[in-house]
Symmetry: C2
Subunit: 391 residues, 2 copies
C-alpha cells in the first residue's frame, strides 16, 4: 500500500471557553492507503498543525509534514516507525512537528490494524490486553463546594479513583488549596483514590509545591501531577527529595521519547503520563511504556478528549498488566462525546477494556464531523496552499 491521501478536520464547539478543558476542539486525521482508511487525533492547536502540514519548505530540515508522509509505503509496523522518524528528520527545526505527527502516526496504526484484522496492541507485540482501572478526570470546582459536589457525583458513579486538576488550584494560598483537597476527599470518602493535577501552575518554583506536600499527604493523595513545567527536571528532583508519600506524575507535555525519558531518568517521577496525541503518536508512546516498565515507573495514558484518543492512548500499554490505571475523561465537551459512534464504557466491575476489534476499534461519525467542521483556507504568495476537505 501507498499512503494516498491525508485529510485534516478541524472541529470545534461553537463557543470556546477560557478554561482548562482540552476537549473543546479537535484535529482529526484521516489517512487513506489502498482500500483502507485509518483515523487519528492530534492534541494540538488545529490551525497551527494544519499550517505545519502544508508550510512551504524553509530548508532541508524545516519541511512540511506532508512531504514525509504522502506516497510512503505502508505494509508493516516497521514502515510506521520509518515514517515517524522521517517526519521528525524533515521537520527537525519546526517545533510543532511532533504534535502534528501524532495524529498521523495514530491513524497509520489504525489503518494497518484494520488491514490485518488485528487490534493495534497486537501489532505492538502484545498477545493480550488487560483491563485498566479508570480514574475519572475532571477540573476542580470554582469553589470548594463545587469540588465537593463533583467528588460526591463521581463516587456515586462508582469510580475507584478520581483526579481533580487546574481551575483555582495552586493560584491562591495553601489554605485555599487545602479546602479544595479536603472537599474532594470528603466527597470521595476514604476508599476512593484521589489524584491532584496542578497543571504546571508553579512553573519551576519548588517552594510553592513543597508547601502543599504535607496537606496532600494528609488527604492520602496518590500523585501530584505537573507541579512544574515538563522541562523543570531539577525542580521535580528537588521536590521528590522532600520525602513525601505522594508520588510525582508528569509527562503529558513530552513531545518525544527523550522528554519523557528525562522525567524518568532525572526528574524522579513515579508515574509517566503520555498523550499519544502529543508525543508523536503510538510509536514513541510504546517506547516510553517499555522504558518506564523497565525502570519501575508506572505508565499512564493522558487523555481528556474523545474515545478515539482514549483508545489510541491505551494501546501502548494495554498488554502491560502491572500498569493498571487509566485516565478516563468524564467532562468532555458535547463535540468530544458525540464524535465517535461507539464509546469505551466500564464493565460491571468498573474496569475498562480496549476494543477487541481491528485497529483502534473506534470510528468517528462523519455526520458529527460535518456538524462541527471549521473550514480553513490558507493562501501563500497569492496561491491557495490549503483548503479543508469535505468529510
Amino acid at each position: 500500500m501507498k499512503i494516498e491521501a491525508v485529510d485534516l478536520f478541524y472541529l470545534a464547539m461553537p463557543t470556546i471557553r477560557n478554561v482548562g478543558d482540552g476537549s473543546q476542539d479537535a484535529l482529526l486525521v484521516r489517512v487513506a492507503a489502498g482500500p483502507w482508511v485509518g483515523w487519528g487525533e492530534c492534541e494540538t492547536s488545529p490551525l497551527v498543525s494544519i499550517a505545519n502540514w502544508v508550510c512551504p519548505m524553509s530548508h532541508s530540515a524545516c519541511r512540511p509534514v506532508r512531504d514525509a508522509v504522502l506516497g510512503q509505503s505502508l505494509e508493516t509496523p516497521a514502515d510506521i516507525a520509518r515514517i515517524n522518524q522521517h517526519v521528525r528528520d524533515l521537520g527537525l527545526d519546526i517545533a510543532q512537528t511532533d504534535h502534528t505527527l501524532s495524529g498521523i502516526d495514530i491513524a497509520l496504526w489504525d489503518l494497518l490494524g484494520k488491514q490485518r484484522g488485528e487490534p493495534v496492541y497486537r501489532l505492538l507485540g502484545d498477545k493480550q490486553a488487560y483491563p485498566k482501572t479508570p480514574y475519572a478526570s475532571q477540573l476542580f470546582g470554582d469553589d470548594a463546594g463545587q469540588t465537593l459536589a463533583k467528588a460526591r457525583a463521581m463516587r456515586e458513579e462508582g469510580y475507584a479513583a478520581v483526579k481533580f486538576g487546574w481551575g483555582p488550584f495552586g493560584r491562591g494560598s495553601v489554605a485555599e488549596d487545602r479546602e479544595h483537597v479536603a472537599a474532594a476527599r470528603e466527597g470521595l470518602g476514604q476508599e476512593v483514590g484521589l489524584m491532584v493535577d496542578a497543571g504546571t501552575v508553579w512553573g519551576e518554583d519548588v517552594a510553592q509545591a513543597a508547601a502543599r506536600l504535607a496537606m496532600l499527604d494528609a488527604f492520602d493523595v496518590t500523585w501530584l501531577e505537573e507541579p512544574f513545567v515538563s522541562g523543570a527536571l531539577a525542580s521535580y528532583q528537588a521536590l521528590v527529595q522532600h520525602g513525601s508519600r505522594v508520588r510525582m506524575a508528569a509527562g503529558e507535555g513530552a513531545h518525544n521519547f527523550h522528554m519523557a525519558r528525562h522525567l524518568i531518568d532525572h526528574g524522579g517521577i513515579g508515574y509517566v503520563q503520555i498523550d499519544t496525541g502529543r508525543i508523536g503518536g503510538i510509536t514513541p508512546a510504546r517506547r516510553v511504556a517499555e522504558y518506564a516498565d523497565a525502570r519501575g515507573v508506572t505508565f499512564v495514558n493522558h487523555t481528556f478528549t474523545t474515545h478515539l484518543a482514549l483508545s489510541a492512548s491505551l494501546q501502548p500499554y494495554a498488554g502491560m498488566q502491572a500498569h493498571t490505571f487509566c485516565e478516563y475523561p468524564v467532562e468532555a465537551s458535547e463535540l468530544a462525546r458525540r464524535l465517535t459512534r461507539t464509546a469505551m464504557t466500564r464493565d460491571a466491575n468498573g474496569q475498562l477494556h480496549v476494543p477487541d476489534a481491528p485497529g483502534l476499534g473506534i470510528e468517528p461519525d462523519l455526520a458529527v464531523i460535518k456538524a462541527y467542521l471549521v473550514p480553513v483556507e490558507i493562501r501563500v504568495g497569492g496561491a491557495t496552499l490549503y483548503r479543508s476537505s469535505e468529510p
Copy 2:
C-alpha cells in the same frame, strides 16, 4: 508604553533549495509601542508561526501568542520577562509557541533599548561589550574537493576558526567523512581552528559518532556539534565518556532554558550554542549564558541568517569576556545579506563587536522587505483571521 501593534513579515528567496541553509527565508517581527519600533527575527517556519500568532483559542493553555502580547505594558526589562512568561503560560500546549515568541522577545529588547538610548547588553546588566572571535560558519562541500576550496577561501579571508557542517557529513562511511575533515584541515592549515557540525545526523546512535572521534582528534577539531538530536542526553553523555579531546557542542535545538540546561547538567557538553530566534528570545538566552558561565561551559551564539539575528544572538553574552567565540554566517542567502542596512564586519584584528548603538543597532531595509515579502492570508470559519501587513 503599551504594545500597540505587532507585524510579522514572511520573507523568502524566489527559490528554496533542499539544503541545510536556514537563511533562505525569514520571519521578521516588528513591534510598535508609543513612538518606538523594535525589530526581531524568528528562526522558524514562517507560516507555522504566523498561524501560531493568530490561532483560535483551544483552551486556557492553548491560546494564540497575540493574546499574551498586544496591549501589554512595556516600561522595563522586567516587563519583557513578564510578557515572555505570559506567552509561555497561555501557549503551554502549543509546541510552536517558543519559536514564535523568540522574534517578539527580541523586538521588545530592541524597542526598549531604543527608547532608553542603550544597547541591549546594557539593559541586561553588562557595562561593557567585549569583542568576539568570529568563526566562519558554512556547509561542507558536496565532495572533499569543494570542502578543500571552501577551507582555503576562508583561510584567505583571515578567519581564526572555521566550521563545516551538514551536507554529506555523517551520511556515508567514516572514510568519506575523514576525506572531508582532512580536506578542511588541509585548506585551513594548522593555525586555523576547525569545528565540525554533524547536524543531528546520527539521531541517538552513539556508535556512529564514536567511530569518528579518533579521526576528529587527529585533525585537531575543536568541537563536534550536534552528533545527536537535542533530547538524546544519554547519548551525549555516553560519547563524552569515550575521553576524546574533541568537546561536544549543542543547544541550537533548545526551545527554552530547561532544554539547554539539560544538555549542560546531563549531556556533558563543553559548548552550549543558543539561537535567540528559537529559544524564546534574548530573555532565556541570557539565563542560559549565566548558567553556562557558572558551570564552566562556554556559551556560543547560533546564527546562520541575518545580521539582525546576529546582533540579537550576541547580546546575551556580549559582556562575558571569557566566552570568546561567535558564529558568523558567511554563506547567507542574498535575502539575508541584503536585509539589513548595516552589517557587523570584522575589525582590523579580525574581531567582531556588537553595535555601540541603541537596541540591537541593526535596522532592516523596508525596500528589501517589500521585495522579498510573501503575502499570507488565513481564513477560518469563513472569516479572514490573518492577512499580511504592508511593511
